[in-house]
């Protein structure tokens, strides 16, 4: 499956996603600008992304715990998600998203 990511600098990347992996892990392992401080444990919100409108239904709504974590960044939009909470699957082939400013490394 493919994931289309626009980074904070506006550059577009097409990444190969691995079934069962978290979208955050794919973005991180490709070396894009994502801090992902807690490694996917839903404890940092430094893997914040904006999911493209047409993909919102497919990724589903964030859990209450994820909403709580999203409170800790100042650039939340209605399409905000934490990418460590999205699992790669065939149903998400072509997923298009943008890295939030607050996901950037130092």
């Amino acid at each position: 499956m493919k994931i289309n990511v626009t980074d904070q600098a506006g550059e577009k990347h097409e990444l190969e996603g691995l079934e069962g992996w978290r979208v955050m892990e794919v973005i991180r392992d490709w070396g894009l600008n994502i801090k992902a401080e807690c490694g996917g444990a839903l404890s940092c919100a430094t893997c914040h992304v904006y999911v493209d409108g047409e993909w919102l239904d497919a990724v589903g709504a964030p859990s209450d715990e994820e909403e709580d974590m999203l409170d800790s960044v100042g650039d939340v939009k209605s399409n905000s998600r934490l990418s460590c909470q999205i699992l790669c699957s065939d149903a998400l082939d072509g997923l298009t998203l943008t890295l939030a400013p607050s996901a950037a490394k130092d």
Partner: protein
């Protein structure tokens, strides 16, 4: 007021690995002082995941971050380490006589024979909201913590966030400010229910202005804000404000550790695997902050590193003294130190 402290070992960072180092050093009769930017012990365990279970600590099928911290504190209690919380180690230098001089941002100077850097992923610092040019207002009219209540007296204060810090300071500052606006992106709060109810009462009484939204821009000059612009569902809003307090939690930054002249590998400190000593003799690095071939960033690894580091530190602190290897199970000498024999 400046303070000077002379000791055998200073441990920078009271995360799990630093804490266990106090145990291993204690068994060898070495006393240590801890310095940590947080206001309590536990590092990542206490700050990022106090209630999440850890499954890979030997002997504990499951233990939460806070429980592990509490247990480590109980384990090192017999050695009475001294804790200096809420201060950051800014500088570290080796003096001509071989001792180290450390300075904190709380105007303390430590002189020590050995330094153990257990700084983990770096020092915890407040998350800065992505608001343009916020830096120019920081520590003048934008603060990430309340150090002096007086700085907020008779001011127009805007507090941002929905957690305990935001709610606590809304309640604490309300009686002394001129106006207070609480801004949060949604109508649900992750704070103690009692605080949320009290805040809602103040809003109902017209004492606190609650706005759903996010900070977009700040107006002001020479470090002094005069308006906070919000984006809200109902459109943009401009609120007169002289103080802004964003509470978005903490994030880790490597910070001053990078400037101490130690050999680094991609934001971690290079050590040997015999003593876990850095490129400067007498300075050790254990836990997540160190690097060697095969390094695993696990609590378990940091515990092992602490034990070997302590043996090497002993040789520096008491040169010539023979250290006899002993087990805590069978040595009455060690048991006496632990207060169990």
């Amino acid at each position: 007021m400046s303070t000077e402290i002379t000791t055998d070992v200073v441990v920078i960072g009271a995360g799990p690995c630093g804490l266990f180092a106090a145990f291993e050093l204690g068994l060898l009769d070495i006393k240590c002082h801890f310095i940590d930017i947080l206001d309590r012990a536990g590092g990542q365990c206490a700050e990022l995941y106090p209630e999440k279970p850890i499954y890979d600590i030997p002997g504990f099928p499951v233990v939460t971050g806070q429980q592990l911290t509490d247990n480590l504190m109980a384990q090192i209690a017999p050695f009475s380490p001294e804790f200096h919380f809420s201060r950051m180690v800014n500088s570290l230098e080796k003096l001509e006589d071989g001792t180290f001089k450390l300075q904190t941002d709380a105007d303390e100077t430590f002189y020590t024979k050995v330094v153990v850097i257990a700084a983990g992923g770096g020092s915890f610092q407040p998350k800065r909201p992505p608001v343009p040019e916020i830096e120019q207002f920081e520590n003048k009219s934008v603060f990430y913590a309340v150090r002096k209540m007086d700085d907020f007296k008779d001011q127009d204060v805007v507090i941002v966030g929905g957690g305990d810090s935001a709610l606590d300071w809304t309640l604490n500052l309300e009686p002394i400010v001129r106006t207070l606006t609480l801004v949060h992106r949604r109508d649900a709060f992750k704070a103690a229910p009692a605080s949320v109810n009290k805040m809602k009462e103040l809003v109902a009484d017209g004492k606190v202005n609650f706005q759903l939204g996010q900070v977009a821009k700040l107006d002001g000059e020479n470090g002094q804000i005069n308006h906070v612009h919000l984006t809200t569902d109902a459109g943009d809003l401009s609120i007169p404000a002289t103080r802004l307090l964003p509470f978005f939690g903490l994030t880790m930054k490597l910070g001053p550790v990078a400037d101490w002249g130690l050999e680094l590998n991609d934001n971690t400190i290079v050590v040997d695997t015999e003593k876990f000593e850095t490129s400067v003799p007498g300075i050790f690095a254990i836990g997540d902050i160190n690097y060697y071939p095969g390094k695993l960033k696990l609590i378990l690894s940091g515990f092992h590193e602490a034990a070997l580091m302590a043996q090497a530190a002993k040789a520096i602190i008491s040169p010539g003294e023979r250290v006899v290897f002993q087990y805590t199970t069978s040595s009455t000498k060690l048991q006496k130190k632990l207060g169990v024999a």
